[in-house]
């Protein structure tokens, strides 16, 4: 495949080329899909520690006296409950109760936030926040000035600790701190998208290269988008454009834990409340395949030959050698333990439904 020239490059582009990565277009960026191989990289993250370039994600600084009010109005989680040095998963809703994006909100100070958004939605999200911003509150796109890497896996803390003066053991999940990382100022947050312990680090664009090199020198395994997608699917995490989009509600996506209906008014609140009261007609479920054929986005899910849903993502577990995925299933069929079929290239393949949070520990038989 030839890569179009007009794609953006992250500050780590030269490092990816040097490491022999296979580069692919992704959301307007040239990104590494794999280095040594998707399965080997995914295994490294489950068993030791891996390193991801996530600089393509959008990073906004939201600051000013009404910054909290702006984020309360434009995101679903309760920002007033977020203390400084803590981050929260949240959604940007639309007026219809659909999802414009899923994001992480970091509170640096009472009126100073960083918001991390998906690369594919960066421009639209920025416009959305700015359209709602009262005077005196600024929304600045700091994506290009910064870089971002994820260090993920059971050995993540051991790999990162020698490079920083931040006491990582004292960082709780979704806690963050600023300090010296590989010799320069950066922010470390205990977050990730793999289902493992780990950290995401934001630093100046030029500095992120030194941090990347230091981690590679410390034998942290570089991992591409292929491993990232496999790991997040296995962990039951949604990906924008697959499990969630403008037409899916947090109710059917199982994301109501990130929606605080009692926090006061916000965009889409009435529509989400109505969807919750009506009950979802379909639910996002985990799928464990009995065989090895991969369920892929768009494949039909059937029960006794009747279509009851559609696959949103599929992956092959690198550590358990099983095919799994997620999909929307009509609510009357969305039962834990139910056996249904995925139609793969014209043939039905049996799979078991389960809550998506159980995908990471499930086996074929239980």
């Amino acid at each position: 495949m030839t890569i179009p020239d007009d794609l953006r490059r992250t500050p780590l582009h030269e490092e990816h080329i040097r490491l022999g990565a296979r580069m692919v277009p992704f959301a307007g960026w040239q990104m590494p899909v794999q280095y040594a191989g998707v399965m080997e990289e995914a295994r490294a993250v489950r068993q030791a520690v891996g390193l991801f370039d996530i600089s393509h994600m959008g990073r906004f600084r939201v600051a000013g006296s009404d910054a909290e009010a702006l984020l309360q109005q434009t995101t679903t989680n309760d920002v007033s409950a977020l203390s400084p040095a803590k981050a929260q998963y949240s959604l940007i809703p639309n007026e219809q109760g659909g999802i414009l994006d899923d994001i992480i909100v970091y509170r640096k100070a009472p009126s100073d936030f960083i918001v991390v958004v998906n690369a594919s939605n960066r421009d639209r999200d920025l416009e959305f926040f700015r359209a709602h911003a009262p005077s005196g509150t600024s929304v600045e796109d700091v994506s290009d000035a910064t870089g971002m890497v994820a260090v993920q896996g059971p050995a993540a803390q051991d790999a990162l600790q020698p490079l920083t003066d931040i006491e990582l053991a004292s960082l709780p999940r979704f806690g963050f701190a600023e300090g010296s990382v590989a010799g320069r100022q950066a922010t470390i947050c205990r977050t990730g998208y793999t289902g493992e312990d780990g950290f995401e680090v934001i630093g100046a664009a030029a500095h992120i290269v030194e941090l990347w090199q230091a981690l590679v020198d410390a034998h942290v395994v570089p991992c591409g988008l292929g491993a990232r997608d496999s790991l997040r699917t296995e962990a039951g995490y949604p990906l924008y454009g697959h499990e969630i989009d403008e037409t899916t509600t947090p109710v059917e996506a199982g994301l109501m834990w990130a929606v605080k209906l009692d926090k006061g008014s916000f965009v889409g609140r009435d529509a989400i409340l109505a969807a919750k009261q009506a009950g979802p007609s379909r639910k996002l479920m985990g799928l464990i395949m009995e065989g090895r054929a991969l369920p892929r986005q768009g494949y039909s899910i059937e029960a006794q030959g009747e279509p009851i849903g559609v696959v949103t993502s599929g992956a092959f577990s690198a550590t358990r050698s099983i095919a799994l995925g997620m999909g929307y299933v009509r609510s009357d069929h969305a039962r834990n333990g139910a056996t249904v079929d995925v139609v793969i290239r014209g043939t039905t393949h049996a799979c078991r439904l389960l809550p998506k949070k159980d995908l990471l520990t499930a086996t074929i038989t239980s």
Partner: protein, 129 residues
């Protein structure tokens, strides 16, 4: 890219080893490299009759699904059962343990449409994939 001289190759990246009336078929090193980690291989039943250029199976990697095309006509004498749960053999040993089917072919089996190793190498370089 590994390309054994004693094999014949297709434009769809299968290889075939002819030994009398037995033709062993698999996918090339180039193909497995492009596909990445193979996780599922669907093969025909023993005894199935294959027409040249017809789809006889599927190979699926974490990235893509690819059809397998019969390089020659024949009857399936044996399928590689190891690929049912050791699909990594396709990546690790595409010309050896990662073979896919053995066909019984006619003694005068036509191979003039197939490429030599040198021709296949040039084909891959020129087509840029």
């Amino acid at each position: 890219m590994e390309l054994p001289d004693d094999l014949l190759y297709t434009r769809t990246h299968e290889w075939v080893r002819l030994d009398g009336t037995t033709a062993t078929v698999g996918i090339t090193d180039h193909a497995q490299c492009e596909l990445g980690d193979v996780v599922y291989v669907e093969l025909p039943d023993q005894g199935a009759t294959l027409e040249r250029d017809a789809v006889f199976g599927t190979v699926e990697s974490v990235k893509a699904v690819s059809d397998l095309y019969a390089p020659v006509s024949g009857t399936v004498a044996e399928v590689n059962g190891a690929l049912a749960d050791q699909t990594e053999l396709v990546n690790q040993s595409p010309y050896g343990e990662g073979w896919m089917v053995r066909l019984t072919v006619a003694p005068d089996c036509d191979t003039t449409h197939l490429m030599s190793a040198q021709e296949y190498e040039r084909y891959v370089q020129e087509s840029g994939h």
